[in-house]
């Protein structure tokens, strides 16, 4: 994250929690419709936003629905009617939206949704892991992960542009780590309202239900005849989202001075060993990388920002010189070959002539704290794998009681 530069964006240095930053971003985007249901740790986002509505700061139609299933259904209806629509959720709330997530993406509606990552019950837990959004990785939604409150704020505006891009037209979720970021206060450089308004622009979708001159059918039956074509077109749209992500990031950097892409490479260019990580733990791991570098160990890090579309070609290129990679997953995929980030990155590397060795660390489930020592111990293991040339175990549980 770079400091405020003298850019046209007229930025203001503020102290905000992750939830406050996302609610502020929503105020500045000023969607036409927000339909939401509260769930910890997301609740504050829509609670704060609802005060913006009642204070008359936004003209948004706020729909206090009775469940997340209804929240997403209302967004589907309003987005199809030509209204920029948003909601927000966490964990079990996302799970309750499940069937409508697929309807939103299959109907090609660019709904944007902050998801404050939280473990799925049971046992009941309110703290961070990524099992909620990782479970939704095949739901056809674009997924942007955030390391801190600043990135959460910045990702919101970019998500709107990516989702609504005429080549894309897919819904997007922007994640933050529950409590760690959502309830943690940090310095956030906020943009001027006018700058945001110009950046996100007007909500324009090619067809909408209320355009009576051009009547259309939304949500029709498509059986053996056309369902397959719909899905392949959706897959193509997700692939087309990739260059759009990069294009929007470059435009945003010009505006704010803050650089975004598919991922961030931290001291990776000459690294022998590296971790791949997403979310708030990337920050902690960067401190470990710096400490190891002081010892002369060539440690590096890759922080994945975009999980869907999965940037496998760029990832391959970025890690090709690394000897050993430790992929950190904050969710598990029980008894498969590792967590979701691990299995996808490992598959992406299959065609490389010279592949890095790769192992998986599943960590932080249910909010288990991951500290400097744990990450350092993972790096030490990567070094011993480098010496032995052998990965003994695919999945390692980091910081769990034996």
């Amino acid at each position: 994250m770079s400091e405020v530069k003298d850019t046209a964006a007229n930025q203001e240095r503020t102290a905000l929690t992750g939830n406050e930053a996302m609610a502020e971003a929503m105020r500045q985007i000023e969607p036409d419709v927000v339909a939401a249901y509260p769930i910890t740790p997301q609740t504050e986002i829509v609670q704060i936003f609802s005060t913006f509505v009642s204070d008359g700061l936004v003209k948004t139609e706020y729909v206090p629905v009775e469940s997340e299933h209804s929240a997403m259904s209302a967004c589907v209806g309003s987005a199809a009617s030509g209204a920029r629509s948003m909601t927000a959720t966490s964990a079990n709330g996302l799970a309750l939206m499940w069937e409508i997530l697929y309807i939103a993406s299959g109907t090609r509606l660019p709904i944007v949704m902050p998801v404050v990552n939280r473990a799925l019950s049971g046992p009941i837990n309110i703290h961070c892991d990524h099992s909620d959004t990782m479970g939704a990785r095949d739901s056809g939604w674009i997924q942007l992960f955030s390391e801190n409150a600043q990135e959460a704020y910045d990702n919101m505006f970019q998500a709107v542009r990516i989702a609504e891009h005429p080549d894309v037209l897919l819904p997007a979720m922007v994640t933050t780590d529950g409590f760690i970021i959502s309830h943690g206060m940090e310095v956030v450089n906020t943009l001027d309202d006018r700058v945001v308004r110009d950046f996100v622009g007007e909500y324009k979708i090619p067809r909408n239900l209320l355009d009576v001159d051009n009547p259309i059918t939304v949500g029709p039956l498509a059986l053996q005849d056309f369902y397959f074509e719909h899905k392949v077109e959706q897959a193509h749209a997700m692939m087309r989202a990739k260059p759009v992500v990069q294009e929007i990031a470059e435009e945003y950097e010009k505006l704010t001075g803050r650089k975004y892409g598919y991922f961030e490479e931290y001291r990776l260019e000459d690294a022998d060993v590296a971790v791949v990580v997403l979310g708030s733990t990337a920050g902690t791991a960067k401190v470990v990388v710096d400490d190891l570098r002081k010892e002369g160990i060539k440690a590096g890090l890759l922080k994945l920002r975009v999980f869907r579309p999965f940037p496998y070609e760029e990832l391959r290129e970025a890690v090709k010189h690394v000897n050993v990679i430790g992929v950190m997953d904050r969710s598990d995929s029980f008894a498969s070959i590792g967590g979701p980030v691990f299995s996808e990155l490992r598959a992406a590397m299959y065609d490389m002539d010279q592949r890095p060795l790769v192992t998986n660390y599943v960590y932080g489930l249910g909010g288990r704290d991951v500290d400097l020592h744990m990450i350092e111990s993972a790096f030490r293991e990567l070094l011993s794998i480098q010496d032995s040339g052998k990965v003994e175990q695919y999945v390692n549980y980091l910081g769990v009681r034996e």
Binding site: M1, E3, R13, T14, A15, I126, H127, E147, N148, D177, F179, I180, I181, H183, G184, M185, E186, V187, S280, T281, G283, T284, K286, V287, D369, V370, D371, L372
Partner: protein, 194 residues
């Protein structure tokens, strides 16, 4: 400040430990620092022991793990003495500020500190807030005491920023804003150290 400062606040649900950490962070941010403020969340209920944390630094803060060895500890409730180990992880050059009517000399033998070089401060934050705000809400006076004991912030900067924040929150109750500012100032003056 070259190092990153870490503060741990101990209180009971309702005493304002979380708010103290947030106000402290906002004041430090307004003074140009990089900050973090985060509470430790559990099943929240009035009266249960809670903790919250600050990190303050001149450099951007990347750590997103818990605070293990805070140099500064603020204890909002004297009943934690002997029941909760609020000294855990405090280094030898640490500073502990306790809300109590007892003096540091009376308090020290009760704590079993691992090092004599840990500095101890006490202040009657309940008494001060009772007199200035009208109820025993010790968080803002403890901020004043902590600033005096540690020098992490300038008193006037803290007062100015807290005033702005409270004026927003208590638009129709100017007496609450004034009471809190007076509480911070009095605790700053009355805190005793050894």
């Amino acid at each position: 400040m070259a190092e990153m400062l870490e503060i741990r606040w101990h209180g009971r649900g309702g005493q304002g430990a979380k708010t103290a950490a947030l106000l402290m962070a906002e004041a430090a941010a307004a003074a140009g620092k990089h900050i973090q403020a985060f509470p430790e969340y559990g099943p929240e209920r009035m009266g249960a022991p809670v903790a919250s944390y600050n990190r303050i630094s001149d450099e951007p803060i990347r750590l997103h793990c818990g605070v293990e060895s805070p140099r500064y500890v603020a204890v909002l409730d004297a009943t934690f003495v002997g029941t909760i180990d609020f000294t855990a992880g405090v280094p030898d050059d640490g500073v502990i500020v306790i809300n109590t009517t007892e003096s540091p000399a009376e308090m020290r033998p009760k704590l079993g500190l691992k090092s004599d070089s840990i500095r101890l401060y006490t202040v009657d934050a309940n008494g001060i807030s009772q007199e200035t705000i009208g109820r025993a809400i010790p968080n803002t006076p403890m901020m004043g005491a902590l600033v005096k004991a540690t020098g992490v912030l300038d008193l006037e900067e803290l007062l100015e920023d807290t005033k702005q924040k409270l004026e927003k929150k208590f638009r129709n109750k100017p007496e609450i804003v004034e009471g809190n500012l007076e509480a911070i100032r009095r605790a700053y003056e009355e805190v005793q150290g050894e």
